[in-house]
Amino acid sequence: MKKLPLHIKIVIGLLAGVVWAFLSSALGWNEFTIKWIDPFGTIFIRLLKFIAVPLVLFSIINGVSGLSDVSKLGRLGGKTLVAYMATTLLAVGVGLLFVNVIQPGGYMEEEQRIKNRLAYEIWLQDNEMGPSQDGQSFLSDPAYTKYLSEAQKGQQLSQEEKQALDEKLSSAQKQKEASPLQFVVDMVPENIILSISNNRLMLQVIFFAIFFGITIVLVPKEKSAPVIAFIQGINAIFLKMVDLVMKAAPFFVFALLAGVVAKMADSPGEVFELFLGLGSYSLTLVGGLFFVVFVLYPLILKVFVPKLTYKELFKNISPAQFLAFSTSSSAATLPVTMECVEDNMGVSKTITSFVLPIGATVNMDGTSLHQAVAVIFMAQLHMVDLTIAQQIVIVLTASLASIGAAAIPSAGLIMMIIVLQSVGLNPAWVAIIFPVDRILDMCRTVVNVTGDVTVSTLIAKSEGELGKYN
């Protein structure tokens, strides 16, 4: 058992967690699982999160202060942003491709879709939004009048759904009202201690750390030496902490998975039902995400880093991927991502410490892909035909939103509301995909993290700092 590599142990923990959850729900032990096992999952996420902020802070300072000239930083920054933008666009493109080819919304009953469509047009009228996106009007077509009354009924949401939706709507509203440069403003901390004491203000921490690192370079060596030594030491200590925590990762992952599944439904049957209801959507999305992780990224890496074989790539980064899947949080996974990329891929510390924290907050390939698939799926479900041009607008808003929404928790759904609104669709539709969102969130976090890894590897390659694969 001792000799098994970490990622295998994590997989075992993961599978054991799922098996346990099904067993416990079959035997009626769900409450036990939620009370006595799930908390360990929470503890794991908390451990990783509390390491993340100091690790980001100190490793960025450490990395930047190790630069011999500051102009390199500007170059790195430019490259990083371009690379993140490019991978995000690619991921969204994949999403569009999948959703247009598979047409998951078309698998639903024709009649239901017509009702959906009518409900949509009623909504448009109620809100005086003008004609629908595709310019057609089912309402004025006498062939569909028989569905009208049912369509109106279908509008009603349950009280709970409505409340959840209202919350999301109002935070989306706030997000939209802000000036387009607000996210740049928000990057600058007002009080650095406040920023580091809030996990959501990671971008501010990054900003401060870069600034601090640059300043260290500019101060005479003999003055900055003790500060650098201290920061290097602290950094080493936090990295060691990641090691210590990861030793228990298989157990923690077991607890996480058992808890997630147990909370989702009372019996295994229900879990499957949830999926079947939205099966075509889930499959399309998971297909797209798989494609990005297992085809797109490896392909990009193959082109730029020929020495890195497919097998080695996944061997190197699988611990981070499994962790991303179980925690569904890029920030919580960050410490492990950094370790994998440094120790296994051989990317230099300067680059990982700079590129990965930014990636964890800004780069969300999986989330953007999810946006594209979900929005178009919902449009298909409501028989709204979107032209390619309209779809591209969606892509752009989604990508921009993914940068701006960096600091928002459970950003996925809120961003989706923004996207829906920006193209004149009903934001209430996100309620349709609520039920499966938790699991899909796990999958898209894997893509987000893998995207971060890919970009950092590419940048390391271009800077000639990629160790053995250079």
Binding site: P39, I43, R46, Q232
Partner: protein
């Protein structure tokens, strides 16, 4: 001249003068409000000063302490011992409380009239505590464990009530420090060592203020307790006199019997030396009624006057200040039974054992919850089926008993640290004899 008077005497003088001054103030409303406006802040400043350095002190001293232990198996052994002793002393103190309250039966001496008076008086107050306790009880069984792990360490350091989180990650940092190569850890260790020394110095500065702070605290306390109608306060306290006496006897047994035996049995320190060395911390615990505020002084006394090694004291005392509350537990045992007696309920042995168990668990479970004493009591009452509204009965002397039980808590913390140090060979046996009186 003044410098030659030992610290504990100065604190005692401050307390005595505060008491006299407070009583004098009661005679004139103008003087009372002057005291509350201009003297009380000195006491508040004093407590704030101590609390201000508690978190950095715990952080720095624990990191340095754990790193100096140098051996993780020793650390976990110490941890196990510490928690074991906490549990034993807690259970013991509750049992003592139960024994005394069953023997003296203070609840039967409470007349029907006073009982309804008390309930009417403090009902609103009690309700707040009860709803708070409900919130705590609705948490999952493992919540205390989850809450021990911070999700942001900087956030944890910004709140005195998340001391356990600070303890947790300080230990983790210490362990990681042990595991990294010496040369990369050296600067960090050096840094925290320096910080640690600085804080000890700051404690000394703040302690200069101690007699004045204590004076202000006691004077304003007298005025606040007396409120607008001193005679009524006396009436209330008189009605609960037997209850108060019972609690105080319990505390006395802890202080003169249990801890001396514990220390005698496990170490070579004389109890008189222990007592002498801890005097200033005990007095401070009494006047501030806060283990956290007293923590810096407790640590200083235990290290510099009893000869406990910093590795042990920095590990045991912060944990003790948040988890180990012998005085509070004893008080709970007494109060629970007192309330039952006053309400005419009979508590069979099984219910009493239940009280011991729940109170011990509640002590651990509510660690880090501010104002936990009464809230824990509600939890205990509900566990044995006594109406929680009964806590209204014992609200009147709460402030004074809080002061006393903090003193017992702190003495208990110090005893545990001495025992752990002694069994780990980290106690300088001769040290206390020479320095206890400094």
């Amino acid at each position: 001249m003044k410098q030659k008077i030992p610290l504990h005497t100065r604190i005692l003088i401050g307390m005595a003068l505060g008491l006299i001054f407070g009583i004098v103030c009661l005679q004139s409303p103008a003087l009372s409000s002057f005291t509350l406006d201009f003297i009380k802040p000195i006491g508040t400043i004093f407590i704030r000063g101590l609390k201000m350095i508690a978190v950095p002190l715990v952080l720095a001293s624990l990191i340095v302490g754990v790193a100096n232990i140098g051996d993780i198996s020793k650390l976990s052994r110490m941890g196990g011992k510490t928690l074991g002793i906490f549990l034993v002393t807690t259970a013991l103190s509750i049992t003592i409380g139960l024994a005394i309250v069953s023997a003296l039966k203070p609840g039967h001496k409470l007349s029907e009239d006073t009982r309804s008076d008390l309930i009417a008086e403090f009902d609103a107050n009690a309700e707040g505590k009860i709803s708070f306790a409900e919130k705590i009880q609705s948490r999952g069984p493992l919540d205390p464990l989850v809450n021990m792990v911070p999700d942001n360490i900087f956030q944890a350091t910004t709140s005195n009530s998340s001391m356990l989180q600070v303890v947790f990650f300080a230990i983790l940092i210490g362990v990681a420090l042990l595991k990294v190569p010496k040369e990369s850890g050296a600067t960090v260790l050096h840094f925290f060592n320096g910080i640690n020394d600085l804080i000890v110095k700051i404690v000394q500065f703040i302690m200069v203020l101690a007699p004045y702070g204590v004076f202000a605290l006691i004077a304003s306390l007298i005025i606040e307790i007396a409120g607008n109608d001193p005679s009524k306060v006396w009436e209330l306290l008189n009605a609960l006199l037997w209850y108060i006496i019972t609690v105080v006897i319990g505390f006395a047994i802890m202080m003169v019997l249990v801890y001396p035996l514990l220390i005698q049995f496990f170490s070579k320190i004389k109890y008189l030396d222990f007592f002498k060395g801890m005097r200033p911390a005990m007095l401070l615990g009494f006047s501030t009624s806060s283990s956290t505020a007293t923590l810096p002084v407790t640590m200083e006394r235990v290290e510099k006057h009893l000869g406990v090694s910093p590795e042990v004291s920095s590990f045991v005392l912060p944990l003790a200040a948040t988890i180990n509350m012998n005085g509070t537990s004893l008080y709970q045992g007494v109060s629970a039974v007192f309330i039952a007696q006053a309400m005419g309920l009979d508590l069979p042995l099984s219910a009493q054992i239940m009280i011991v168990l729940t109170a011990t668990l509640a002590a651990v479970g509510t660690a880090g919850v501010p104002g936990a004493g009464l809230v824990m009591l509600v939890v205990v009452l509900e566990a044995v089926g006594i109406p929680a509204a009964g806590i209204a009965l014992i609200m009147a002397p709460e402030r004074i008993l809080d002061m006393l039980r903090t003193m017992v808590n702190i003495t208990g913390d110090a005893s545990v640290s001495v025992v752990v140090a002694s069994t780990e060979g980290e106690l300088d046996e001769e040290f206390a004899r020479k320095h206890a009186d400094d």
